[in-house]
């Protein structure tokens, strides 16, 4: 006994109970963290203690999307299991990059990221001058009026000092950012007498010495916690100064326009245009906003306390209500993100986090501000502003949040227990939630829905317009990395009254149990029985074949707040099988299932009733209904787990392509090459599917560019090649990016494809009629987008990306008005209470659908007006007053947002038939290109990111290339690329168009004598489960004929047209299903309106007149998946003297590609 104690004592003596944190440079990858999205490499900096490990990227261009080195790129727990050590951890973090005024440290030079001494722990510091997150953001320094520094100060010159400090025993990284504008760094010299841990006398908080004379003197002040001023306080108030609400109102031209005591203060600098507002003496001017860009990535689900996992709905509600979330951001205690085996939590050391956007994996958290009162300008002169944020790592959200609470010293109570399945077996991977108990009347037998409703009712406010559900925290039983499969969970939260419930995926959920949380409480939870649905798909020969099952139910199986999916079609589950046999677990109940295999096969619909604990079956034979013989179905826009914003496993991606009847999978992960061929081979599907290596070069400001087929190489001289050779786009011009892609040629010439080309075209403000870059205002701040840098050296462009139907055809002014006015009307009804939130959302969907239908349905008159340039002089920045920031109105003559005094009341309103030039219509741009002899192949791209289901589906749309191949999946890269380049292509998400002119097929040029009629044959097919009700035939952009087919057969149209071309012409056919059955639910409808940085910044543009040229009217983005197909042209050369375009080529045409290009 005594000997045992002695041995234990000796061991205890040898062991450091709290190992010191340390920081070191990674010398080999087994020192790094590792994991599904780990990006740490040799040379980066590792910070670790006994609980967590984090990687700060070394100086240089960042391997992650944002900027430069010096940001946190990997984070994980210290894991004891051997399989997770030595660089094989579970990092799921994208990037956390400190920012100030939308700048971040330009840590790309020697010594800009270093290990620094810290008296409290281990520390890595990034110190560098700042650079804008995007070049265009540098514009704010010129456009905004700022007065917090002395005269002549350069507000674009920011010094960043980002300290990453890890202390003993804490699972929390402290990120302290100190920024200064007019105080350069001051590194200590020996004669300064500074302490050893002092790295910079001005910026380092570890210094204890006087500022020497050689350095500018500066004081340090802490950033004010947010909100740093009375409500309503938003990010725009810190960045632009206090703004009246509603935003855009309260303009003044002199102090006389203001109330007594207030002064008329300029918001914008002279270059930004004239925009001034009245400010009281104590109101704030534009200042400094500090926070972090939070790139969580596709492997993580953001979580907000009280809100839960539904982080997007509240932002949408604000936007729908006419607010913008820069002015009224989500105001939360912290931001968390949950992944499989690891979770993160982010919060300021004091105050709240302002979150303006959750764009899938991307978010931003602002935590501190510093600004001067209106009567005290220059208050930040020679002043450094410091803000500290906490970034915690845990095995689940609760653990990460607990780590934060621990550091903040806030009281914590603990709930532990075991989740058991219906048989009493510990359930691993179950989610356990704590939901706020606000004493609802239904207690103690409340359903979850009743609790949510009660919580929402009591928490409605100006930010959370629909209230919050009260989901406080979340834990998971036996998350990945937990070696013990014992079903145990641990929830940590402040003491109080809660409901607790457990769920396993979408399939089983316990009833909420009321619980009073004090100190430590134990509670076991038992899940109910589930059901299983087996399914099988067979082909016409009775062989099992790949396919997909779409399960429809009534209401989501798991609420959004608890991490459930969103569906506009009542789809509750989607599964896919590569073998033809599959099964999925579901809660007992009645479901409508659809078995499918792509849009060209029949489908099988059946209602199944699943009983608890039992398995039911559904099986069917599907037959190919639509003939695509000789066409190879390809998708060039495909993401999976190698993309930061996708968590889809590569195997699942292959399976999804098999299930969707695809022949060619061309990878296009963001900035990294992925090779599928060996995987497809090993899975035994090489006869059905070909893998092709490609990449999506994802620039921040120029748009994206896809290249394929590329040479694939993982290593060179034994070292891994970053991105496996993906081109570096930073600071590169389009021509250089195209060149880099073409340099990856192996044996087949590279095809450069522009996905969602509106991004590229908008960056250069390509004129819809002349195709000339018209000079974007952004070019003033980002030379990359100077007009002369637009380059036509691409081969193909996407005519349809995913299900973005609103950007396919350029709307007319009438269509813009229809949507904008309709939306204004609905918002007014919602505000007045005439419409409930549910009714409002349903009405917006209906309005958006109808507006999109009208945009897609072109009439001869509309096309004629577009060709003649009717409306080209209109700004078309708005369709109604609701498109403009409050205080401005939409001038119906010019369609621009102006103050009420500026409206040209005498001018006639713009014609409804005129085109709205500010909105891209990709097909219309392509038509214009064809008319000007610019010959680029139109393709489609699904842009699929999700593993199964959701808004994106593999192969929707697809590019059908007429290779004539007898084995469509096995055509060689060379043959495939040749057919593609020749334009033997139909882009479709369903309908198939067979189009010939005489004997000429797609992509062919048919020489004919003058005045001789040609025979155009248009045959359109569709599967029996969706409709095609409109077919349009275009000649040189004019609508030559349109048809409204109503045939019930698969062949909905088979027309032969005699036509005599008056001149050289191209002919294109479009097939649409606008009024009949859509492709839903097999191909999901849009469930959530688009909300990205474009939408986020729209209203701010109105406050800065100079930027109003970037504004566009609101565009519909909620609609079903309309059947859509478009051919590439057949060219008719009258007289056989060579094809010549009707109009002259643009200046950027390429002689080797384009007709009539002689530059």
């Amino acid at each position: 006994m005594h000997r045992t104690l002695l041995v234990l004592a000796l061991f205890a003596g040898c062991r450091d109970s709290t190992p010191s944190p340390r920081a070191y440079r990674i010398e080999s990858l087994d020192q790094a963290i590792g994991g599904p999205v780990a990006s740490g490499r040799v040379g980066d900096y590792l910070l670790e203690n006994d609980r967590v490990r984090l990687v700060v990227e070394q100086s240089g261009k960042s391997r992650t999307p944002l900027g430069f080195g010096g940001s946190v790129v990997d984070a994980d727990l210290v894991r004891s299991e051997e399989r997770f050590r030595r660089g094989r951890g579970l990092d799921l973090l994208g990037q956390v990059a400190p920012t100030a005024n939308l700048y971040l440290a330009r840590a790309d030079g020697p010594g800009t990221v270093v290990i620094t001494a810290s008296e409290a722990g281990a520390e890595v510091t990034a110190k560098a001058e700042g650079a804008p997150i995007q070049q265009v953001l540098a514009a704010f320094n010129l456009l905004l009026e700022r007065r917090f520094l002395g005269d002549g100060a350069d507000y674009g010159k920011i010094y960043f000092y980002d300290e990453y400090e890890l202390r003993p025993g804490e699972a929390v990284l402290r990120i302290t950012t100190t920024v200064g504008f007019d105080a350069p760094f001051c590194p200590p010299q020996p004669e300064d007498g500074c302490n050893a841990s002092c790295d910079d006398i001005l910026y380092d908080d570890d210094c204890s010495c006087d500022i020497p004379a050689r350095c500018a003197s500066a004081q340090v002040r802490s950033a004010d916690p947010l909100p740093d001023r009375p409500a309503p306080a938003g990010l725009s108030d810190v960045l632009l100064g206090d703004l009246p609400r509603p935003l855009g109102s309260g303009m003044c031209s002199s102090d006389d326009d203001c109330a007594p005591g207030a002064t008329c203060t300029a918001v914008t600098a002279a270059l930004g245009g004239d925009f001034s507002v009245c400010r009281q003496p104590q109101q704030r001017d534009a200042g400094v906003l500090i926070g972090d860009m939070l790139l969580f990535g596709g492997h993580l689900s953001p979580f907000l306390p009280e809100v839960g996992f539904d982080t997007e709905s509240d932002i949408r509600r604000l936007f729908d209500a006419g607010e913008d979330t820069l002015s009224r951001p989500l105001d939360v205690e912290l931001v968390a993100a949950s992944g499989d085996g690891v979770a993160y939590a982010y919060a300021p050391s004091d105050g709240r986090v302002f979150v303006p956007i959750f764009g899938g994996p991307f978010s931003m958290g602002a935590t501190g501000g510093a600004s001067c009162a209106n009567d005290d300008p220059r208050c930040l002169e020679r002043t450094l502003v410091r803000s500290t944020r906490l970034f915690a790592v845990g095995r689940d959200v609760s653990a990460a949040m607990a780590a934060l609470l621990e550091v903040k010293g806030e009281p914590q109570a603990v709930l532990t227990g075991t989740v058991l399945d219906d048989a009493g077996v510990p359930a691993s991977g179950a989610d356990v939630f704590l939901v706020r108990d606000r004493n609802p009347p239904c207690k103690p037998t409340c359903t979850l829905e009743e609790i949510f409703a009660a919580n929402r009712e009591q928490t409605v406010g100006p930010v959370f317009l629909g209230g919050t559900a009260g989901v406080v925290t979340h834990a998971r039983t036996d998350p990945k990395g937990d070696g013990r499969r014992d079903g145990r969970y641990r929830l940590v939260a402040p003491p109080g009254d809660y409901f607790v419930l457990a769920s396993r995926g979408d399939v089983a959920r316990t009833r909420p149990v009321p619980i009073r949380l004090e100190a430590e409480v134990k509670l076991d939870l038992r899940l109910p029985k589930t059901s299983r649905l087996s399914y099988a798909l067979f082909d016409g020969t009775g062989e099992a074949m790949p396919g997909k099952i779409t399960v429809g139910g009534h209401g989501p199986l798991r609420p959004l707040e608890l991490g459930g999916g969103r569906s506009a079609d009542d789809t509750v589950a989607v599964d896919q099988t590569g073998s033809g046999l599959g099964s999925l677990e579901l809660p007992p109940g009645a479901y409508d299932v659809v078995l499918s295999r792509g849009p060209h096969f029949s489908i099988h619909e059946e209602r199944v009733v699943l009983r608890p604990g039992e398995t039911s079956q559904v099986s069917t034979t599907l037959v190919r209904q639509v003939d695509r013989t000789g066409f190879t179905a390809a998708d060039f826009h495909v993401h999976a787990e190698h993309s930061l914003d996708s968590s889809a496993a590569l195997e699942a991606r292959v399976e999804s392509f098999l299930a969707e009847d695809m022949d060619r999978l061309s990878s296009s992960d963001h900035d990294t090459l992925t090779r599928y061929a060996p995987l497809i081979d090993s899975l035994g599907h090489a006869d059905q599917l070909t893998g092709q290596v490609g990449v999506e070069v994802s620039t921040q400001e120029l748009g994206h560019f896809i290249g394929f087929p590329l040479r694939y190489q993982e290593r060179q001289d034994g070292a891994a090649i970053p991105g496996f050779g993906a081109p570096d786009w930073r600071d590169a011009l389009p021509a250089q990016i195209f060149g880099s892609l073409r340099a990856l040629e192996d044996t087949t010439p590279i095809v450069v494809d522009v996905p969602h080309p509106y991004s590229y075209f908008d960056a250069y403000a390509i004129d819809p009629l002349t195709l000339e870059p018209s000079g974007s205002v952004i070019a003033l701040f980002n030379p990359l987008v100077n007009s002369e840098n637009f380059h036509g050296g691409f081969d193909a462009m996407e005519l349809l990306n995913a299900k973005g139907f609103d950007l396919v055809r350029r709307p007319t002014v009438g269509e813009v008005r229809f949507y904008a006015r309709g939306l204004d009307d609905l918002i007014a009804k919602r505000r007045s209470g005439e419409l409930s939130q549910v009714a409002f959302e349903r009405s917006v969907h209906a309005l958006s659908t109808e507006a999109t239908r009208r945009m897609l349905h072109r009439t001869e008159e509309e096309q004629e007006a577009a060709l003649e340039g009717d409306g080209v002089d209109l700004a078309c920045r708005c369709g109604s007053n609701g498109d403009c920031a409050a205080g401005l109105v939409c001038d119906q003559a010019t369609l621009s947002c102006v103050s009420p005094l500026e409206t040209s009341s005498t001018a006639a309103p713009a014609s409804d038939d005129a085109l709205c030039r500010s909105v891209r219509g990709v097909v219309d741009d392509w038509f214009t290109m064809l008319n000007r002899g610019v010959r680029r192949v139109g393709v489609g791209g699904s842009d699929v990111h999700s593993e199964k289901g959701g808004f994106h589906d593999a192969g929707s749309p697809r590019t059908l290339v007429e290779t004539g191949a007898t084995h469509p999946a096995q055509v060689t890269d060379a043959d495939f690329a040749e057919a593609l380049r020749a334009g033997k292509v139909v882009v479709s998400n369903g309908p198939m168009i067979h189009f010939t002119i005489d004997e000429a097929r797609l992509g062919d040029t048919l020489p004919v004598p003058a005045s001789r009629a040609v025979t155009l044959r248009v045959r359109v097919e569709r599967a029996s489960w969706y409709d095609v009700d409109r077919v349009e035939l275009y000649e040189n952009g004019a609508l030559l004929r349109s048809f409204e087919p109503r045939a019930p057969e698969v062949t909905v149209l088979d027309e032969v047209i005699q036509h005599t071309p008056a001149r050289d012409a191209w002919y294109v056919v479009i097939a649409l299903g606008l009024r009949g059955r859509s492709l839903a639910p097999v191909y999901a409808s849009a469930a959530l309106a688009r909300f990205g940085t474009l939408e986020l910044t729209q209203r701010i543009y109105d406050v800065i007149p100079r930027l109003r040229s970037l504004r566009i009217p609101r565009n519909p983005s909620l609609y079903p998946t309309f059947p859509f197909a478009i051919t590439n042209p057949i060219w008719v050369d009258v007289d056989g003297d060579g094809w010549s375009p009707p109009q002259s080529p643009p200046s950027w045409c390429v002689p080797s590609k384009d007709y009539g290009c002689s530059r």
């Binding site: 087996s534 099988a536 067979f538 082909d539 016409g540 020969t541 009775g542 099992a544 073998s579 046999l581 029949s602 099988h604 079956q617 099986s619 069917t620 034979t621 599907l622 037959v623 190919r624 209904q625 639509v626 003939d627 013989t629 000789g630 081979d681 035994g684 599907h685 090489a686 006869d687 059905q688 004539g964 191949a965 007898t966 084995h967 096995q970 055509v971 060689t972 043959d975 097919e1021 599967a1023 029996s1024 019930p1048 057969e1049 698969v1050 062949t1051």
Partner: protein, 366 residues
């Protein structure tokens, strides 16, 4: 007129009961190593290993499409291990594992049968095994003249299914029959998960006794057979038929077989005028061989031509001609065998693919 025939049949049945010769469905290998061998129990273990070495494979070669190899290099084509037992000369058990398969649905079981041989004219077998339909499919893979079975056989003949077979030989084997009833879907331990049954029958006439390529010294023998099957599958109805001839004469052999099937879905939605919802597939092949010996090593030259259309309604890359030729050497009968074969697959429509392949096989069995 029928009385003498009936009497003759009954007489044959009576005589045949005395001699039992087991099943005509040959598994991939026959265990040879006796563990126990007595009048009451005969228990053997055995195995089969086939290693392919592809000396050449065209860029477009793909095993999944019927080519012998996908790339140059080695391939483990078959690895089987099993046990056979006969008890009392009438009750048989055969269990074979496919060591290359760990399929979730079918596991590693290759064959698992229980049989009872009441008489030559009546043997009943239950379990998992080959379907009595096509001659080539019924041949054991350890004695195939060509390296692989014809493509049409691989495509059209259903894979191993679970069920019951009744078979027998009459008139000294001059007439033989096999009938079978099986599950319509695969899956062993879960059984007939998706429902339906498959029915098959095969009738073989051999006027001068069963023809066999394994008897090079035999005089002229010919076996003619017809077979059919009907599968009432979970969602598809399939009907198939085959007819074949095997003739042998002093080491020379000629095998001809033609087979077709037609699958129709239960639901028959509209399809494009260019397509058919009912899929008909047909194939036919002729295989000739000649056996001779060099330095006591039995050799055989073999050539085969095959025509296969995987959908008669469309003319596409599924319409192929396969031509192959090679040399077999039974280095150490029956344990060690070597084969060398060249195969070309010619697409009758569309672009020609480079899919010729040259493959050597080393086979060991015991």
């Amino acid at each position: 007129m029928w009385t003498p025939i009936l009497a003759s049949v009954l007489f044959e049945l009576l005589i045949a009961t005395a001699t039992v010769s087991g099943t005509m469905v040959e598994p991939d290998f026959a265990p040879t190593v006796a563990v126990i061998s007595s009048d009451i129990v005969d228990l053997r273990v055995g195995g089969l290993v086939q290693v392919h070495a592809a000396a050449m494979a065209g860029d477009d070669s793909l095993v999944e499409n019927g080519d012998l190899a996908t790339r140059s290099g080695f391939r483990l084509r078959r690895a089987r291990f099993g046990i056979s037992g006969w008890f009392g000369g009438q009750v048989g058990v055969f269990l074979a594992a496919n060591l290359l398969s760990a399929d979730e649905e079918v596991g590693s079981v290759s064959d698992a049968t229980l049989s009872y041989a009441f008489a030559d004219w009546f043997t009943v077998t239950a379990g998992l095994g080959k379907l009595p339909f096509s001659r080539s499919a019924l041949d054991t893979s350890r004695r195939l003249l060509s390296i692989e079975r014809p493509l049409s056989v691989r495509r059209i003949v259903p894979s191993r299914r679970l069920g019951l077979t009744v078979e027998g030989r009459l008139f000294d084997g001059r007439l033989a029959y096999l009938t079978s009833m099986r599950n319509a879907s695969e899956g062993f331990n879960l059984g007939n998960r998706f429902g339906g049954f498959l029915y098959g029958a095969r009738l073989i006439a051999s006027p001068w006794g069963m023809a066999s390529v394994d008897e090079p010294d035999a005089r002229f023998r010919i076996s003619l057979a017809v077979a059919g099957l009907y599968e009432d599958g979970p969602a598809t109805r399939t009907i198939a038929a085959t007819a074949d001839i095997l003739a042998t004469w002093y080491g020379a052999s000629l095998q001809v077989e033609a087979l077709c099937d037609r699958g129709s879905p239960e639901d028959a939605p509209d399809v494009s005028p260019e397509l058919s919802d009912t899929i008909e597939r047909c194939g036919a092949y002729t295989e000739i061989g000649y056996a001779f010996s060099v330095w006591t090593v039995p050799l055989r030259v073999v050539a085969r031509g095959e025509l296969f259309d995987d959908d008669r309604a469309v003319s596409d890359g599924g319409d192929v001609i396969l031509v192959s030729g090679g040399l077999n050497a039974d280095v150490y009968l029956p344990y060690l065998r070597a084969q060398l074969q060249y195969q070309a697959r010619l697409e009758r429509h569309g672009a020609t693919l480079e899919n010729d392949s040259l493959v050597a096989v080393l086979q060991g069995t015991f």
